[in-house]
């Protein structure tokens, strides 16, 4: 049963990678951005379905780090520098939000 589930997952990922890299006609950077967006979809599953609140906090934190990479690749693709400004601001806000969520989870007040 376990082996069957692993095989099904590997085959599904292989089909998606084949569709992305060999069927989909686009520049290479757009294909790499697609892989990152698919990873972000996995993270969103953990945000929605996470059993404990800490899982959701971790997932939101990781989503911030992933979006920095996606924005850097977008800036490389469009050859525009302002995407990195958005990425830096996103990183800062994601860090502050993670710390605030951790404090709330621990049961302390924010001005503590």
């Amino acid at each position: 049963m376990r082996v069957a589930r692993w095989l099904a997952g590997a085959v599904a990922l292989g089909i998606l990678a084949y569709l992305n890299f060999f069927v989909f006609r686009a520049p290479l950077l757009v294909k790499l951005i697609n892989v990152s967006l698919f990873s972000a979809l996995f993270v969103l599953y953990r945000v929605i379905r996470g059993p404990s609140p800490a899982d959701r906090i971790i997932a939101v934190d990781i989503l911030g780090v992933l979006s920095i990479g996606i924005l850097a690749l977008l800036g490389l693709h469009y050859d525009q520098g302002f995407f990195m400004d958005i990425a830096l601001i996103w990183a800062l806000l994601s860090f502050v939000a993670s710390l605030a969520f951790a404090k709330i989870l621990e049961g302390r007040r924010l001005d503590d």
């Binding site: 790499l32 698919f38 800490a54 971790i58 934190d61 520098g81 990183a91 860090f95």
Partner: protein, 119 residues
Amino acid sequence: MIRHSVGMAFIWLGIVFDFLGVLGLLRLPDVYNRLQAATKCVTFGSAGLLFGVFILKGFTSFGFKVLLGIAFIFLTSPIAAHAIARAAHRSRIPLCGESVVDLYEADHEIDKEGGDDAA
């Protein structure tokens, strides 16, 4: 040409590490295991990706902003992970069934007993 190849190699490495870290976030059984896999792999993955973009762009304003992003990720991601792990352990989120020992909890108990003795 060599610069382009090296930059694209770093970007591929970052994408693969990002994907593996997110897979660990999805598949591992426990909050702490998930935190370990996700934070390590995604930090190195995103930092490697940004380093590849920096190699491709060189010392332009874009490149300096990318370097700033790498420094920021390396500074803040471990701090956030530490705060989340501490908060999760303090709010009594249980470890997974295969866990053998929980030394942080033992230290906590010793601290509480010592505090009682001192009082």
